[in-house]
Assembly symmetry: C2
């Protein structure tokens, strides 16, 4: 159905009657340097995603000439045609990644292949042109290396990376954008939550706003999955909650812009189940989500956490009634949310249709599983503990 397919080579393969055009090529990158560099902000003043670094990377796709020259240049507004597909029909997709400084002081990425695979899926979902995912990782590394001084060294502070693709076709015809602009921008950031993720979050359900549905877009990383939740989130905050727990009927899907987990004693009595909603088409396949499941499964096979019993990774439909039942049965242990921006954060309370369900409290916020996962994932991200090539040096 797509006009082009990326085969991982130098050219995008055109569909029948569509000529092959050049694929994304990191070796073509040009750098326009500026001497007018910004002063680094005091890291403690940084909030999440509000400051940008000196440079950005842009690369345009044209249906006749394919992916053009990737350009690293000073961060600046992008001239966008008022008719463009991105501004009119929301052809905008993105990824959220972070750069970490390793023990050697050099930048590292965390599982960038997963972000790239998801970005490629997102592009296809809204009919944007595909791209060579390995070349995009190279471009991200090049930009991060150039901007290394922007990676905060303060614990909990990071350089957030936002690869974005927008449709640039100018025209009101309701049809695919066959031209696009890829850009990568970097945001030195403080913690996603002001509390730093130690204070348990409270979540609230809403009936009249649904984040995702079968056949919709909730399982892709599209800009459009976020703005429809702004009002509901504002309402939650007004009612004293931190975020929305998104529901589809009585089924729990996600929490805010994060995946949702609960940990409970296994029915067999042996070990614990690490449970999260299954990827049924309404759930964003989060990188941290996958990492939690993989850590649980790895520990289940051969212990990798000293203080945890055997774990079982469980993806299933998770209903409001399940959570209440597990609490009533005494099987419920802890709940947490996860995502690239937040890493892992504890959940302390859920307001289900106005009825508060309160979870056990733990010192430091996260329970034993969430705490162990968070520490291990950060250790892997910062290159302090190796695991399955998840941490990738930028050099």
């Amino acid at each position: 159905m797509a006009l082009w397919t990326s085969t991982g080579g130098k050219f995008l393969k055109g569909a029948a009657g569509v000529p092959d055009v050049p694929d994304l090529d990191a070796s073509k990158v040009t750098i326009t340097e500026t001497k007018d560099l910004k002063t680094l902000p005091d890291p403690e003043t940084l909030v999440f995603g509000a400051t940008t670094s000196d440079y950005m990377l842009t690369c345009a796709f044209d249906p006749a000439t394919g992916w053009g020259t990737p350009e690293i240049k000073p961060y600046a507004p992008i001239p966008v045609d008022p008719m463009s597909s991105a501004l009119q029909y929301a052809t905008n997709i993105f990824e959220g990644m972070k750069a970490y400084l390793g023990p050697d002081g050099e930048p590292r990425l965390f599982r960038p292949d997963m972000n790239m695979a998801r970005l490629a899926r997102s592009a296809n979902r809204v009919a944007l042109p595909p791209f060579n995912t390995e070349e995009l990782v190279k471009l991200i590394k090049t930009l991060v290396n150039l901007e290394k001084r922007w990676i905060p060294t303060l614990e909990g502070y990071t350089l957030y990376i936002r690869p974005t693709i927008i449709g640039t076709r100018a025209g009101f015809g309701v049809a695919a954008s066959d031209s696009s602009l890829l850009y990568i921008i970097l945001a030195p950031s403080g913690p996603y939550f002001r509390t730093g993720g130690s204070k348990p979050l409270s979540l609230m359900t809403v009936e009249d706003c649904v984040r995702a549905w079968p056949g919709g877009t909730g399982d892709h990383k599209l800009g459009m999955n976020y703005s429809p939740g702004f009002n509901a989130t504002r309402l939650a905050v007004q009612k004293g909650y931190d975020q929305i727990l998104w529901m589809l009927g009585d089924v729990i899907t996600e929490a805010g812009a994060m995946n949702f987990f609960v940990v409970l004693k296994s029915e067999s009595g042996e070990g614990w189940d690490v449970v999260t909603p299954m990827l049924d088409g309404t759930i964003l396949p989060g990188v941290t989500r996958a990492s939690c499941l993989e850590l649980a499964a790895a520990h289940g096979e051969k212990p990798i956490f000293d203080d945890l019993p055997p774990l079982r990774a469980v993806e299933r439909k998770l209903r409001k009634g399940d959570v209440k039942q597990w609490l009533a049965e005494g099987r419920f242990l802890e709940a947490f949310v996860c995502g690239t921006a937040v890493a892992l954060a504890p959940v302390g309370r859920i307001g289900f249709d106005g009825e508060d369900v309160v979870f056990p409290k733990f010192e430091g916020g996260l329970g034993p599983v969430g705490g162990a996962f968070r520490r291990r994932i950060l250790d892997i991200q910062y290159g302090r503990v190796p695991f399955s090539n998840w941490s990738v040096p930028c050099q």
Copy 2:
């Protein structure tokens, strides 16, 4: 919940703790003229929404200073921050309108109050700042009057008007954009379908792509309602259909970017029913849709169409099985789609899950009701026949 409310006056009223700020004010408009005007294209070369006129209007909203000066200036790309809410989180809303030349040679709009009410609802849906809808109509009139030479005089060719609002807050925090940019652009356009709307359209259902869901956004005019359907539409064209008939399970919702109607003999045997899906939260409340229902209701009360029996406007849940049953019973008369861009166009065939259902054919394309509605709506739009103040002069 909203930070501000437009009361139709000079100031937006701030919520508790939020200062009032200036509302949109058409009297402040400035015009930057250019002598470098484009040559008018040969109207017959015009396709839908691909060409723009000489000028555009922009007006920015800032949370501290409210709506600023509306500026009419030469059409040009808009500088957009790469972090902006519109490019990241799809805070983009729009309206589709048209300018018509009346018998006096002066421009007219069609029911602009309905477009403005919908745009205001759309703004609220994605938490964009509100605006004085009457002032926006004045601004549209000012721009259309200035660009009058761009209104094609060829029948079926129009000046399409696209008021757009985008969120301009620069930041990755998943929260409302408290700044925005309103802009209006004009596109001299040929017919929405190459066939000019006389050839009956064929529609195809898809199972794995769902346009709208209760609690979603399908009942608002948001950019995000369109790009998720690009792939499905391309697939439909590959299979020999013109557009998608959007379904929610076995319930018919919309057709392409248009509302869907069927006409059938009333169960009572007296007159005909003009049936369209009810506004259950998944249907865009189209201006042409409302106009068809109102014309049907008006004719039902006191005949306004010479050759039509009594009509009844019916908004109801419309299922695949209903259409098949009405055909089998011999009650089915005609089907059509409608929208601002297309006006009305006939439907000749629907591929329900691969099984084609074929409708009666009529000379000229549209059946008796669709044909009468189309002629009357065009007569009203061009100011040839008055009806309920639907046609509004720009002067």
